[in-house]
Amino acid sequence: MTLLGQRERTQVRDHLAKRMDGAVTVRLFTQLASPLTAPTVQCETCRDTEQLLRELTELSDRLRLEVRDLVADADEARRLGVEHIPTIVLEGKNAGVLRYVGVPAGYEFAVLLEDLGDVSRGSTGLTAATRERLASLPGPVEVKVLVTPT
């Protein structure tokens, strides 16, 4: 059973074809099944997230999915600031780090699609005034946006 319906797949494929430029890696940190470990906490949404991302990344040849385990790949997780699962990290022409924590459903999926385009181009619709302010930031800043599924 797929998560994205036929019409959605067509819409997403068209959106990506129009908006994507360079390649983007979608890196999912999740909980991989291993014969060696018996996790005490099951990540219920990890499997859905992985399936959704597989379906999404199949819709553009500029998208690549990489799956990591939070525990086995702890060094990489730490470097990217990943603390929870599922977390998605986008890598393309972005200067800073972009993370999504939790299943990207509903409104968050639309945000993800927009960001895929921006990350693939390395540019957004920000104003020149904003870019100036960002260039003179006094130090690193982490912006957390807390949302609920719509």
Binding site: N94, V101, V103, E142, V143
Partner: protein, 64 residues
């Protein structure tokens, strides 16, 4: 902003799945934006105002 600036890390968190995070940040209305765990606001802000809050959060100053 994170796309364009190496100083910015952006994280979107779906808090219905992470009630402890919702609790930590006292999320009553969404979207709630938290900057450097220091400055926060709820709801949407126009771009210039959003950016000013980000600058505040980066420098440790709070507004007048």
């Amino acid at each position: 902003m994170a796309v364009e600036s190496a100083q910015v890390t952006a994280e979107v968190i779906e808090v219905a799945e992470f009630p402890l995070i919702a609790q930590r940040y006292q999320v009553y209305g969404v979207p709630k934006v938290v900057i450097n765990d220091r400055v926060s606001f709820e709801g949407a802000l126009p771009e210039p105002s959003f950016v000013e809050r980000v600058v505040e959060g980066a420098s440790g100053r709070t507004g007048p």
